[in-house]
């Protein structure tokens, strides 16, 4: 039996908000939350949810005979978690069937393979950890961003322990060879390569609804005829495409869902093909030859190269300025710096700066938030300039920690100071303060205190205190006081102190 290998790419970027020059150094929120949520919810509604359900139904119907594979970028997974948890749980349901393989890729859907091996490896590890956590399977097949591949990238991927890798069956690489066999990496033959059959893939992904196409409308009978036309010795037909093909690039009313729903039955009935995942093919098929790709290829545009992302000066400049930061960032533990580092690496940012789409139309414009590549460049560089400041000023997390401990220190000191102040205030009310008190208060004090104590306390007291107290005495108190004066000609200093203290205590009691 020969195989059909369906692989779907699922990805949504965190698009940037309009970020002005004036925001540099001031604002560090870079993402267009509203639009990202809006787009994610829309695509979920039109594509992810109905198509996942369709695949789930097919698996229920045909059991182990129907299989597909996905790579879902870390960016997309995070946005599922954030905006559309329903989508995530439907992917989990698919994972549980055992008929769905999840592939490894760079977490940020980045072009890191083109720049820094270390960063590339770390992102792949991050992604596989996330896949394992969410879907309970550890990827053994690798797929790089936009199917970007070269001999060197393949060798790195082989070193990481991957058995199979997916890439484009680019004509300029294959020459006369057919993409419908297993191939191997030119440096490390342990890495098997599955190549995209771009004709049969793009018949579905790009041409399905194109009414000017000679083969329109595409029916399952026609498609099955084409499959049967394939030479009998050819082993696998690799149909790789964006998952958004279903419902977004090709709208529901084109009949794309009906086509996919009917296709497996037709294939089972009229061909000798079965469905397989990349990992299964890795077990089953042996490479017919190695394939040499000295210069990187991708699945984009006619050229199948990297010019859509790194083709002009704007893209090169933004890309270089971003990765110049790598040395400074790699040891950072600041979660915000790390998060932005990933999000800013997303290949879509560079795609938006492409000047190719003056000629190369619609695909580039899809979900593109910018009206021109120049706008895209300016906006990205503004964001990046702010990010560079944050990175160069030392991680803001460390700053934050410092600031926090400073604040705690200050708060501690402040509390102590306040406490002392209160204490001081209580202490501060002393005997001499009587001269400052209102007559009412003095009267109140006199009511509460023994007149004898007052009399003693007033010995040696400041003149003003005496003058304050005496007029406020009642007649009887005054009389007692006057009488006492004669008796109290000689009073011990300690007694004076004692009674002074007694009066002071009373003062604190009443007014403190």
């Amino acid at each position: 039996m020969r195989s059909i290998c369906f692989y779907f790419q699922v990805h949504q970027p965190y698009r940037l908000r309009p970020y002005r020059f004036f925001d540099i150094g001031e604002k560090h929120d870079y993402y267009d939350d509203y639009n990202n949520q809006f787009i994610m919810q829309r695509v979920a509604e039109k594509c992810y949810l109905p198509m996942n359900q369709l695949l789930l139904d097919l698996i229920k119907e045909y059991g182990s005979a129907f299989k597909v594979s996905f790579s879902i970028s870390g960016m997309a997974l995070e946005q599922f978690q954030e905006y559309t948890p329903k989508v995530l749980s439907s992917f989990k349901k698919l994972a549980k069937t055992g008929n769905v393989e999840f592939l490894a890729e760079t977490y940020a859907h980045s072009l890191s393979a083109m720049k820094d091996k270390e960063e590339f490896v770390s992102q792949v590890e991050m992604h596989t950890a996330k896949i394992e956590e969410l879907f309970g399977q550890k990827p053994t097949t690798f797929r790089n961003t936009e199917l970007i591949y070269s001999d060197e990238i393949g060798a790195t991927v082989a070193d990481m322990g991957y058995k199979v890798m997916l890439t484009e069956g680019a004509k300029h690489v294959l020459g006369w060879k057919s993409p419908n066999f297993m191939y191997a990496n030119a440096i490390n033959p342990n890495l098997k390569l599955l190549l995209k059959n771009y004709r049969l893939s793009d018949d579905i992904a790009f041409r399905f609804s194109e009414q000017g196409w000679a083969e329109w409308p595409l029916t399952t009978s026609k498609y099955v005829d084409w499959l049967n036309d394939i030479e009998p010795n050819e082993e696998t037909v690799n149909l790789f495409m964006d998952y958004e093909t279903f419902g977004e690039h090709q709208w529901e009313n084109t009949g794309i869902f009906d086509f996919m729903k009917a296709l497996p039955a037709k294939i089972f009935a009229e061909t000798d093909f079965e469905f397989a995942t990349p990992a299964e093919l890795g077990e089953k098929l042996q490479p017919v030859s190695s394939i040499s790709v000295p210069y990187p290829i991708s699945w984009a545009d006619e050229e199948r190269d990297l010019t859509a992302w790194l083709g002009n000066d704007l893209q090169q400049e933004a890309f270089n300025k971003l990765y110049q930061l790598y040395e400074k960032i790699k040891d950072s533990n600041d979660p915000k710096i790390r998060k932005d580092w990933l999000y800013l690496q997303n290949s879509d940012h560079f795609y938006y700066m492409s000047t190719k789409w003056f000629s190369d139309g619609d695909v580039h414009k899809y979900f593109n938030p910018y009206s021109s590549p120049y706008d895209a460049f300016i906006n990205y560089m503004n964001v990046l300039s702010d990010y560079i400041i944050r990175v160069e000023d030392g991680s803001s997390f460390d700053n934050l920690k410092e600031a926090a401990s400073d604040l705690a220190d200050k708060a501690g000191k402040y509390t102590k100071k306040q406490a002392k102040k209160v204490a001081d205030k209580v202490k501060e009310i002393n005997f001499d303060d009587i001269k400052e008190m209102s007559n009412a208060k003095v009267k109140q004090l006199l009511k509460e205190v023994d007149i004898e104590h007052i009399a003693v306390a007033l010995k040696d007291a400041e003149k003003e205190v005496v003058e304050k107290v005496i007029p406020n005495m009642t007649k009887t108190a005054k009389k007692t006081y006057d009488d006492l004066q004669k008796e109290l000609k000689k009073v011990k200093k300690t007694d004076i102190k004692k009674y002074r203290q007694a009066v002071e205590d009373k003062l604190k009691d009443i007014f403190g």
Binding site: R20, F21, F22, I24, G25, E26, N312, D313, L314, Q316, E317, A318, N320, K321, S372, Y374, F377, I378, M381, N382, L384, S385, I388, I389
Partner: protein
Amino acid sequence: MRILMFGWEFPPHITGGLGTACYGLTKGLAKQDVEVIFVVPKAYGDEDQQAVRLVNASDVVFDIENKEHHEYWSKVKYMEIGSNIIPYVSPEDFSKVVEKDKKETETFTSNVFSKQYEFAGAYGTNLMEEVARYALIGSTIALKEDFDIIHAHDWLTYPAGVAAKESSGKPLVVHMHATEFDRTGENYNEIVYAMEKEGMEAADQVITVSNLTRNTVVNKYGIDPKKVVTVHNAIEQSLLKDIEEIKRNLKEKVVTFLGRITFQKGPEYFIEAAYKILQRDRNVRFVMAGSGDMLNKMIERVAALGIADRFHFTGFLKGAAVDKMFALSDVFVMPSVSEPFGLVPLEAMRINVPVVISKQSGVAEILQHALKVDFWDVEGLADAIYGLCHYDALSDTFKKYGKEEVENLKWDDAAIKVKDVYNDFMPA
């Protein structure tokens, strides 16, 4: 003394320096007891009319069948030739205007020669036809109003000025704020050139805003130097606001270019100078604020030089954003290839931002506290910018005296000179 003045715009409805200059001049003239009747193609009703009586050309009823006008009409008819001449608008506005006009063309042709016509008063594809219509209105008004001298600002109003002179027999003064060469370089529009030349030839006196412009008028238009006099522009103090100190979030020095990103303004020299400085000193940021037909090319150049992390673009700025941009700047640069006057550096100096200006700007003739370089001298430009960024004694001096200098550039003084011109034509 009463002046019939023709202008194309009046604050607050302006697209460039022309309207601002007219406003300042008329206010200055009012203080010299000169009365001004100011005719604009379109009045909005919210203009400041303290100094002038504004006449809205759109309100003037004009009868094309009137025989008196036929002779003049035969002369100006060539101006009907539509042409996409848009002297001051940004390219974005340009395409909007063109788009809009495409839709309106059919109704337009019948309207513009009707008895009453609503002027757009903008710089669109209908411009030539509006100029022609405005000229006819000019001659009508000249017959109705009582005045001593006619004064027309820039080529758009010259046909009106000439028509008014012909119908009234009063002397004509034309005012050159910018020549076609300043706007377009050597690829000038011949129709516009011809209108400028004929306007100046018909005029009794030509006023230029700088000696630079005076040279152009004499050398490129062949106007008799004896009838060309320079009256430097000034700055309308009431239009300047004090800008509040704002918090700066960038620790680097900020060097700013602000203006239309077109050939005339020399943006590429600014970029090359930035590159030279950044090779030596990374603690400077450059900002190019504005838009124009050379913007994309400039972005590409910055990317190719690999300085995009220190060279920023803001797009078109207006209102508060312009103020903020100035407040954030340490140095303002105007490397214009050709600038008849150049008001923006004065605005920068007024709020304590030292400036570097090209010697090819009219304003360079009158400013002391500005560094002046040839626009093509990238090294000199870089040197000047670097100096203002790093030698505090220099920038402090410029801040201290620059503001004072600008505040002494008063329209009152310019108005006295203009009145002197008028006096030559007054009966003794």
